[in-house]
């Protein structure tokens, strides 16, 4: 025991001498020389790059900032052109009004059901199907894979009429099934893309682990579920984020299949809010809002409320993305989409 400790100590001390002071200084000198060698033009170029990047960042963040700032403005600020980025008085009430006008909780629930189930379908089905494409050879594989690509190219509108009829005959209208069930078969919103992503990822994965599992008598499903899926984290994350965002923002399919107001997802509610902005509020809605606005002699619902509503709609996606962001970015770089 003591002997081991002694050797350890010796080793560490030996290691230290490897990074001896002269080497360190030499390193520093090299660096200094390098820095001196940086020409003026290079420096200008570097500063220019940062200016460009920050300008671009401003452009990309603009809609986001605009939404927040506008949503906090009072009516007076809204029509005052000198008020640009900093509202003179912050009016959080806009959010309360938007929250009520959207009937937020109820429609949030609709959207959550639709998005979460749809995304779950994509993750389960596409990781499964992609595995078949990556690791097995069977007659008709090329044909099937070209169908995967084809399914991406066909615009939804080309096939939506027969699809509508199918779902009509199945009595699935006004439910979320037309949006959710296809995802479990590798279809739905850009399902083909996710199959493609998973296939590419599995192709870049070393096969040794699966072979070892197979030799030990692991069945094909268990190999996929217990061995491959846990390693496929980055592809799973990319699919999760993309599918989540696309499902959340999708309004086309719900607008076709769902006609009952009660069941529309949250983003579609924004149209209602716009109608409220453009037309004077009707009696019953006005009654519910009037006590909030009794103090002020301005219209209850204006553009600021609209932006507050829009921001409320985006908040869930933003929060999800904030949590998944760093792993998602790593995942994109590691899925091997490029190969």
């Amino acid at each position: 025991m003591t002997e081991e400790a002694a050797t350890k100590k010796w080793r560490t001390s030996n290691n230290k001498t490897q990074y001896s002071i002269p080497g360190f200084i030499r390193n520093m000198q090299e660096r200094m020389a390098e820095r001196r060698a940086l020409k003026l033009s290079d420096r200008v170029f570097r500063i220019g790059t940062y200016i460009l990047l920050f300008d671009l960042a401003f452009v990309f963040l603009f809609p986001f900032f605009y939404m927040i700032v506008t949503s906090l403005k009072t009516n007076a600020d809204l029509y005052n052109f000198t008020v640009n980025w900093v509202p003179r008085t912050v009016k959080i009430q806009n959010y309360v009004i938007a929250f009520r006008a959207l009937d937020y909780i109820k429609y949030l629930k609709n959207s959550l059901i639709l998005t979460l189930l749809g995304t779950a379908g994509h993750i389960l089905a596409c990781s499964f199907i992609g595995y078949g494409f990556a690791r097995y050879d069977f007659p008709g594989k090329t044909l099937l894979f070209s169908i995967v690509i084809l399914s991406l190219i066909v615009p939804v509108q080309t096939i939506i009429i027969p699809q509508y009829m199918i779902f009509c005959n199945l009595k699935w209208l006004n439910t979320y099934l037309p949006m959710i069930v296809p995802t479990f078969f590798g279809y739905g919103l850009k399902g083909g893309l996710f199959i493609f992503i998973f296939r590419q990822f599995y192709l870049g994965l070393p096969k040794a682990l699966e072979d070892a599992a197979k030799i030990d008598g692991c069945g094909f499903f268990r190999t996929y579920w217990n061995i491959v899926l846990p390693v496929a984290q980055s592809a799973l994350l990319v699919t999760l984020v993309l599918s989540l965002v696309w499902h959340w923002n999708d309004f086309y399919e719900p607008s076709i299949y769902i006609s009952k107001m009660m069941k529309t997802p949250l983003p579609s509610r924004l149209n209602e809010l716009v109608n409220l902005v453009n037309t004077p509020p009707s009696e019953e809605i006005f009654d519910s809002l009037i006590e909030l606005e009794a103090m002020e002699e301005e219209m209850a619902i204006n553009n600021a409320v609209l932006m507050a509503g829009t921001f409320l709609v985006v908040i869930p996606v933003m929060t999800a993305f904030a949590f998944l962001q760093s792993k998602f970015m790593q995942g994109i770089e590691r899925t091997g989409l490029v190969e």
Partner: protein, 302 residues
Amino acid sequence: MKKFRIGAEKRNILEGYIFVLPFILGTLIFFAFPLYMSIKLSFGKLQRIEGFIIRWIGFGNYLKAFITDTKFIPMFVGVFRHTLIKAPLTIIFALIIAILINKNVKFRGFFRTVFFIPFLLGMGEVMKQLLGQGVDRQVVSISGGRLLPRELLMYLGPKVVEAIDSFFGIIIVVLWGSGVQILLFLSGLQSIPASLYESSKVDGATEWEMFWKITFPMISPILLLNIVYTLIASFTDITNPILEYIQNLAFKGMEFEYAATIGWIYFVFIIILVMLVFILLRNYVYTTDAKEAKRNDRRSSY
């Protein structure tokens, strides 16, 4: 012994089919059947919705699209021109931004995330509301008189100012729509082995030469992928007027047959275009030793 091996092979094939079985079922129900029905619909007249009873009438609907319908062709040309302007801009901007971020800059993670934010806002209702408020024109707006002095604006005249503003509006919307492309390019740039740049630097190559001789060929596969993605995204975008037209025909005008016809014409056009791009550009894509070099590089760096 031999029999057992054949059995194992067959089992392998069977397992493969089990994995893709959901996709086969999905294709039959949600893809092949609707596709077939819509082509049948485009050549016929719908008699009854229950049971899809369709009477064959021939090319009548197609003739209508190309000859009688005065709205379709101009709309079609408009969409095509729109894509022809926006797609190259998207690709170029995305590539430039990706290269800028990929350089050894500080706050790299910050920029990477920021450039993805418009994607979260989506191209759906939220973006519609924002564009409805003219956000795209406010980002870089010279008519407000902040960027340029009013005298200059007066000199240019309202028409020129308006044109410049809408030009910037287009650029801004293009930028917002390039989040996915930037990410794809970034992943492509990341996979280029650093050793290539180092050795070329030793040989005295300039940045410009390095871009055209190393970066560009190495990301050409992802460039092709990006071009195809951008084209498809632009053609199948919900805000596309043709797609809106199809929807109005079908669900407001109840002209199911004609809507299916337009859908098919449009679809065939997209397929031909994408195939054309793919075939034309595939010859320029650099694929050979690149993968091998990359793998070696990755192995040594991890």
